[in-house]
Symmetry: C3
Subunit: 398 residues, 3 copies
């Protein structure tokens, strides 16, 4: 196809403007992204309440990789690559379950919950079993949120330090997964992240969200409201501390993060159909202050914490032209479905909003694929999306 | 894959024979065709009766591009690229409809019916709106037939000059679209054009057509009949003028055209199940002379005009291995369906024939994809298909 | 993608270990395999009982090629390429049937059952018909089994010589096709052949097979049993002769073969649900000796002969990531379904086993595609799979 070399694509980028088409389509660009970004980044895998007991496991996939998240006998949660060390079969075929061992369905090589090879038929005496554990990714259980990183040297401590205090009042270790939903998006992952990172589209495209969330308004319009919320926050036991270490502000690729508290609008106190609470207050939060805490942790994982529930997002690259948006809803661990919360009401806001985003992103993809697409200028409300693209081009260059 | 360079493929072509497999499969060949042919050619978009009122629009797609055909407030018909000048979303999601504005569903950038940017939220004061109109293709409304060209410098006048007189008696501006049908063909577009450009296959493959159309016979066999029809034509108010400026005879790529009147057979006076009329006479045509006028306008657009109806064809490249055959049936504007014509009878001939061609072309593709395919010799009745392939190789070389 | 050149891939192969991921995925590797292996190898096409009469034909496909197997008027069975010599259409659209001629559905070029061009409309007088026969593959009817080879110089005599005596008692020319089944496997063909060539997986994955077949046990464990069977074989009229000319032991690419007789277990005398006979004894076999004869003929065709039925396998490459496993069941020609054998019982063993293999192979593919896949060591029971991979790398290098 005589594709332009990636370096030249980067060199001709027009500052302040969206990315060119090639970045969203080319398989070689995608493979470079896997190497430069996804194999080094913190990625949300799920929540500890998905694996309460030793032997509980679930599997998730990203960019063709399958990772088993399993709680070992010692209670530690492991992230094991789902690839037999013999001839490479998947060793775990179920999406979730409970097991004492992973026995490869091909030749019965047998791994314990830490991925150590325990048995291999016919070659028990001759094989050096220590040489063949399942390969693993790092896993951090941060307040019950499970983050993995394929890079063994990746740092997590600075993230924990920035986030620990802010998130403490919600007592996330004592939340549980109330619902999880997978939205398949036919587009490159960057169109999804670019969409998530700006709220310029919220008024035109997310009526349900825009009516109650200050994020949908230009900062100047809600500055006063923000101050009010932040001053109320403390009385509800919430922190007003912000962090802004996303994209080029992060210490290293894959440690991107921010945390921000913004105001809800017109009597809304949660992200719900009518703005009213949909679940019991989280942790030690003592009341609804009218705000919401938004955070990023790594390039494709995001969260939004209301006083009564948490929604987590992961924009999972599948291949150059396909992404899965995985959404997790968390509520207080002791909350009982049907009594303390109605599941349909709990998920309403972010289900309707994510469905709309799926459509928007796919329509964006269609136009970006045109030979006549000329990337246009970012506007002020898209500053964080613009910051993403600038960071992205830097990372891709290295 | 170590594909042969296109130049070498061309160099080893055997004159008088069909094209080699690579021309029908390779994505790089297809991209070169888009650049060298489709971005410079006149292409049938549709008929003015599809957009009678200001604000009426329809969208059509070719080679991944989406073009909005819309009538402006001033009555002019525009061809606008369906790509927002901001971040590239489709601005129009409906296939057809009526609107006062195109409002991008992503961030609500707002374009008028001429594609001028009218509004963009939050940046009305800072954005130079004149810089961001929807991009456009040229559009010629020729006797009500809408032709577009992505090349702003393409000429149309010589075509109009050749065709105007011949087509005048049919009064095409006063016809209307009675039916439109889309036939998806899994093959390269050239196998479809090659099929359309010869009638050597008509006797074996199109019994319904061959029984009534002189085109299905070798020229020598119907020469006398042709003379009879041409002499009768004048008395019916029809022109006997021919044009032959297809392929290498055209002034430039994309201006290919011919017009020819040939005889119908054995009492047939129209293209119908029994050869009898299926609709009221067109324009000023005063009777059925027993002939049909065939024309080409650009490389992928063709027409066949009977005394009572018109059928238009567009072989729309989708990707290297996929084509859509779009067929339009036109009748006199004042004709009333159910009274003046029966729709099923009107479309019968070209529906059954196009379905057969779809099958034929797809079976052709399967064999052409064989490693054992050796392009065979063209026969006399395939002269125009041969002329197409010779022109094609010339164009591809430049 | 900056793929590693094939030579470098081969050079970095680690002896004694499985192949790397690239060999199973890359389209350029697959095309090289077609050239170096499939266009030179003996390939099972089917059985003569599929074309009992002159004019009977069936079509089979491999790597995008379509081959017509047809019995001519003289009784000879031909393998004709299903590609018209004119413009390349398929000439035969049915999967099987009976015909006097192959008339191309496009322009009615007309071929006899030997592929000779008999007629071509309009050009009968000018075309040199001798120049345009359907192209053909070689076909060997070996004991009723039909093998093709695209290479006109391929030798078959040494294979016939090795196999003739061993297979004689089964009188394969007087068997018939009782059933044929096609299993689509989403994986490269090598993962299927690697699976077939080892029985290390039989105990874990094929309970139904392992309970009755000595092949599922390490050789040492069944050596005594094997001797018993071989000594009993003669009294049943069977040969104990072995051949081992597979992979690097073959005289040339595509002549790979072995024949081996191994013991059945615990009172099993056939490959059936309960180990009991499922069809009348074949040929001159006078009793059930408790063994089964396994053979290979070419790289992708295999057979297993019980005393009462034959099962044949072909692992048909479709494209780099897709394979069809075709299975044929043969019984004595005179056996009557419903009386002499129950079809469901006849096919039970190899249907259940092939379905399991399809799943295993597809799970293997998923893991092999991981960036974290490191090819592991072959074990003793995988010696023949290892021999395959070593041969494969040699062939690919040339």
């Amino acid at each position: 196809m005589n594709s332009l070399p990636i370096k030249e694509l980067i060199a001709r980028h027009r500052p302040g403007h969206a990315l060119e088409q090639d970045f969203y389509r080319r398989a070689d660009v995608f493979e470079k992204e896997v190497d430069s970004i996804f194999l080094k980044s913190w990625i949300l895998a799920g929540h500890q309440s998905q694996v309460p007991e030793a032997g509980d496991f679930f599997v998730f996939e990203i960019a063709g990789e399958s990772i088993i998240i399993v709680r070992s006998d010692a209670g530690r949660i492991n992230a094991l690559l789902n690839v037999c060390r013999h001839r490479g079969s998947r060793v775990c075929l179920e999406e979730q379950g409970h097991t004492a061992r992973f026995v490869c369905p091909y030749h019965a090589w047998n791994y314990d919950l830490n991925g150590e090879l325990q048995a291999a038929p016919q070659v028990m005496d001759t094989l050096d079993r220590d040489q063949y554990p399942l390969r693993r990714a790092r896993l951090e259980n941060f307040l019950g949120l499970l983050f993995i990183n394929f890079d063994p040297d990746a740092e997590f401590a600075p993230i924990a330090s920035d986030f620990g205090g802010v998130l403490a009042p919600y007592d996330l270790p004592h939340t549980k997964l109330a619902h999880q939903e997978s939205y398949r998006i036919r587009s490159n992952w960057k169109l999804a992240v670019e969409n998530y990172c700006e709220c310029y589209h919220c008024v035109p495209a997310h009526r349900e969200f825009a009516v109650g969330h200050g994020r949908a308004r230009p900062e100047g319009n809600v500055a006063e409201l923000r101050q009010e919320v932040l001053s109320r926050a403390q009385s509800c036991g919430l922190s007003a501390k912000m962090t802004q270490k996303g994209w080029k502000n992060a210490e290293a690729v894959g440690m991107d993060r921010y945390v921000d508290r913004y105001p809800l609008l017109k009597g809304h106190v949660s992200g719900s159909r009518d703005g009213k609470p949909v679940a019991p207050l989280l942790g030690t939060v003592s009341g609804f202050d009218g705000g919401a805490t938004e955070f990023q942790l790594g390039p494709i994982s995001y969260g939004l914490v209301y006083c009564d529930y948490v929604v987590l997002y992961r924009f999972t690259p599948v291949q150059a032209d396909e992404t899965t948006c995985e959404v997790f809803w968390l509520v207080r661990e002791t909350a009982v479905e049907g009594e303390d919360y109605d599941l349909q009401e709990l998920i309403w806001m972010w289900d309707v909003t994510t469905r709309a985003d799926k459509r928007i992103i796919e329509d964006n993809r269609r136009g970006v694929n045109s030979r006549f697409f000329v990337p246009g200028p970012f506007t002020p409300m898209e500053y964080y999306t613009q910051a993403f693209t600038e960071w992205y081009l830097d990372v891709l260059q290295t």
